[in-house]
Amino acid sequence: MKVMVSVKRVVDYNVRIQVKGDGSGVNLDGVKMSMNPFDEIAMEQAVQMKDAGTAEEVIAVTIGPAKAEEQLRSALAFGADRAIHVKTDEEIQPLTAARILAKLFEKEQPKVLLTGKQAIDDDANQTGQMTAALLDLPQATFASAIEFDGDKAKVTREVDSGLETIEVDLPAVITTDLRLNEPRYLKLPDIMKAKKKPIDAMSVEDLGIEEAVKLNVTKTAPPPEREPGVMVEDVNELVSKMKDKGLV
């Protein structure tokens, strides 16, 4: 089958994010960027399918600035056969991303779209679901195990109450959770080979999609600093303090 994986360029998970002084967002200057870790898990899943013979072709796609090519090259080094780069310098919100992915899905007709359950930059956790809805396809989110069987996939999902196993018809959208696998270390020869693999670049307009900004960020602020605790002598004092604060 043909597998499409969407990956996003995000701030590296090791970076300690700093909010800009004017509250207009977080500071990304000179900050290390990487592939979204949940998307790496989706990549690993796709490559394992290729290794196992379940997938014939793996296509990596990303939506982002010119520099996002680095993440596509990583995806190609992972083992994707080719890549699609939808270039934009604008901030892409989940609905626009979903529209773009839906369009690419219709064009490429993969059996499955794999993507991380969320991106660690804004943690929206929406793109996979919206894409499935736009395409009117089944969705299986938060996958921690996937089994393919003909035109169906059995997906174990991580839900609040524990694990849930569902079956979806293919084609489908599957979003990946942490326990699905452990992404491999990239091999240096594969990094070299990735340079020669094709990347098909296009703009958002090329796909006939208008970037819709539906959400406005009014302010970004760091979490408030925690106040130091207070030692109390006994339970009575504790209760009265809690009453003072209106907590009981």
Partner: protein, 594 residues
């Protein structure tokens, strides 16, 4: 944030300071581009942080043991090395024709430094292997390359360097291991070797020992020494493994640091059945080794720099988070304690570390670029200048970082206070690991003698002139920039001082003992000037960056440069005074007076 090397800084050093990207225009590296280098270094960060750093403390606490039969090493080492080999790191700098990736030496050193910073104990095994393989690449025959080097690049065989013996460490001219010629062209090796890192283990199918020995009848001293390849297990012509090769592990050395890399005493040919093969020409063993010496010494300096660097980052992270004490003048005991980085003296210790380790790392990487330019650079006419620079800078690049990287670790411990003195934090381990670097690959005392006794005097002092001309060139260019003109002037004056000191020392050139008595002071002096030069170059490069978006990074470089120029460079003056007057405090001291 990485605790190995600041990724922004490494990137800055490689591309903004040293312009490594331009190497891709050379035919040797035409296959590569900057994006590939960045991706490969990224992959190294990842494996170093996820696969190496995690077991560094455990490996240190559980060093390899020998039960009389076998060497036991905790299993994480084999797992990490399997990932390292599988990812292709063993062959980064080797030619493509031998299965390598043919990356610049500079990039391969940057990669190696990440594994060093993460876990030197585990990283020691592949480093020794690449060193042994590299030696074969330079002086081995094609058959030897195929039989021993290629399996090392593939990670199937590991390697060692067998130079020292119990009675001959720094003085290799005194080694006694013998090689008896056999009718089939091979040699029977008999002797004992000391301090052999990675000398025995079960991490690889075979171990390839590069052994210095004397062919029967060879002259005494260094000219009688030849180089041999001696495998732990014999290798058949078709590459398959044959019987054992009569190499016995006599025991382990128990070290202060660097504990994960097993260090051995090896007996070769106890039963007269140890087969070795001559590498290169008879009597040219040390020449072959010395060919690799520049690179090996730069690698030691690099390791010392990054062990210091990692300690700096650990202590920086701690200082940002540890609340303790209040600002001077704040008398209210109810007020919040501040993170210790708010205390000026803690910032002094952090800034000292930054100035040492970033300065030292830039020097080692600069030397690595000289290796690349010499070996692959397009400008053939420039090679003499490059060779001179590399020759004179090598002892400095080995000794200065290994002395000051260690000082950085010392300060890192101090930043953490009591916690720095415990094994719960990595600072004390980094210090112990780093303590080897002033000792091995030629002690710092030997580097000083190499610098003053050989490098400064050879070719009528040409190499020193070339270096000083480079430094003066930087100073002259910087003099036109009002932001750094003070530093430029100070650097120019420092070059004058080096010239005066060197001239004054020449008066004692006929008395070697007197001439060399204060060689260590001379190395420290010239080292400070060279690091100041590197700092000025770093600031020049930083000023070309985007001054708005990278304001903090640039300001940090400026401040560290200023720190070095104000607090470290002036220390050359008292050194110069001692050197100029041929101070004989140590020379005149008699052994019986102690």
């Amino acid at each position: 944030m990485s605790l190995l090397i600041n990724p922004r800084d490494l990137n800055f050093l490689l591309y903004d300071l040293l312009e490594v990207e331009s190497f891709c225009d050379w035919s040797a590296f035409g296959e590569h581009d900057r994006a590939t280098f960045e991706a490969v270094i990224d992959a190294a960060y990842r494996l170093a942080e996820d696969g190496f750093a995690g077991h560094a403390a455990r490996l240190d606490a559980n060093e390899p043991t020998f039960d009389g039969e076998r060497v036991h090493i905790i299993p994480e080492v084999a797992e990490a090395l399997a990932a390292y080999i599988d990812s292709g790191f063993m062959g980064t700098a080797f030619p493509a024709e031998y299965g390598g990736l043919q990356m610049p030496y500079t990039v391969s050193q940057a990669i190696a430094s990440l594994f060093t910073a993460a876990n030197i104990g585990t990283a020691g095994y592949p480093f020794l292997t690449t060193a042994a393989a590299n030696l074969l690449r330079v002086v081995g025959s094609e058959a030897q390359k195929q039989r021993y080097m290629v399996p090392m690049i593939e990670g199937r065989f590991f390697g060692t360097m067998c130079l020292s013996e119990p009675q001959a460490g720094s003085s290799l001219g005194d080694i006694r291991t013998r090689a008896a010629p056999q009718d089939d062209g091979s040699y029977r090796i008999v002797g004992n070797k000391m301090w052999i890192s990675a000398g025995e283990h079960e991490l690889s199918e075979n171990i390839v020992h590069m052994v210095l020995a004397r062919i029967d009848g060879a002259s005494a001293g260094t000219r009688g020494i030849s180089l041999f390849v001696v495998p732990k297990v014999r290798v058949n012509e078709d590459g398959s493994l044959g019987p054992g090769n009569d190499i016995r592990l006599a025991g382990l050395n128990h070290k202060m640091g660097y504990r994960g890399t097993v260090n051995t005493v090896l007996n070769f040919g106890d039963n007269g059945a140890c087969e070795g093969f001559l590498v290169g020409e008879p009597g040219r063993g040390l020449a072959g080794m010395f060919h690799m010496m520049n690179e090996a010494r730069i690698a030691v300096g690099m390791g010392a720099s990054v062990l210091g660097y990692s300690g700096y980052l650990h202590s920086l992270a701690y200082a940002r988070e540890r609340p303790q004490g209040r600002p001077p003048g704040q008398a209210d005991p109810e007020s919040r304690p501040v993170p210790i980085i708010e205390h000026a003296d803690v910032r002094r210790m952090l800034l000292t570390q930054k100035a040492y380790v970033e300065g030292a790392l830039s020097l080692c990487l600069y030397c690595a670029t000289l290796v690349d330019r010499l070996e692959h650079g397009p400008d053939v006419d420039d090679r003499r200048r490059l060779r001179d620079l590399l020759d004179i800078l090598t002892p400095i690049a080995k000794a200065w970082p290994s002395e000051y990287g260690l000082k950085a670790n010392d300060l890192g411990i101090q930043v953490l206070g009591g916690y720095g003195y415990t094994r719960e934090y990595p600072l004390e381990r980094l210090y112990r690991d780093n303590r080897l670097n002033p000792i091995h690959e030629g002690t710092n005392g030997i580097q000083a003698i190499d610098l003053l006794g050989r490098k400064v005097t050879m070719n009528q002092g040409r190499a020193l002139q070339v270096l000083l001309r480079e430094i003066r060139g930087t100073a002259d260019r910087a003099a036109a920039d009002t932001r750094i003109e003070d530093h430029a002037r100070a650097l120019g004056a420092a070059v004058d001082t080096v010239e005066q000191v060197t001239e004054a020392l020449r008066e004692a050139a006929d008395e070697p003992a007197r001439y060399l008595a204060n060689a260590s002071l001379y190395l420290d002096l010239l080292g400070r000037v060279v690091i100041a030069w590197m700092w000025l170059r770093q600031v020049q490069a930083a000023q070309r960056l985007d001054q708005t978006t990278e304001a903090d990074f640039v300001a940090g470089k400026r401040q560290a440069c200023q720190f070095f120029f104000r607090r470290e460079l002036p220390a050359i003056e008292p050194l110069a005074a001692l050197l100029i007057e041929h101070d004989d405090s140590a020379l005149a001291m008699q052994a019986r007076w102690f």
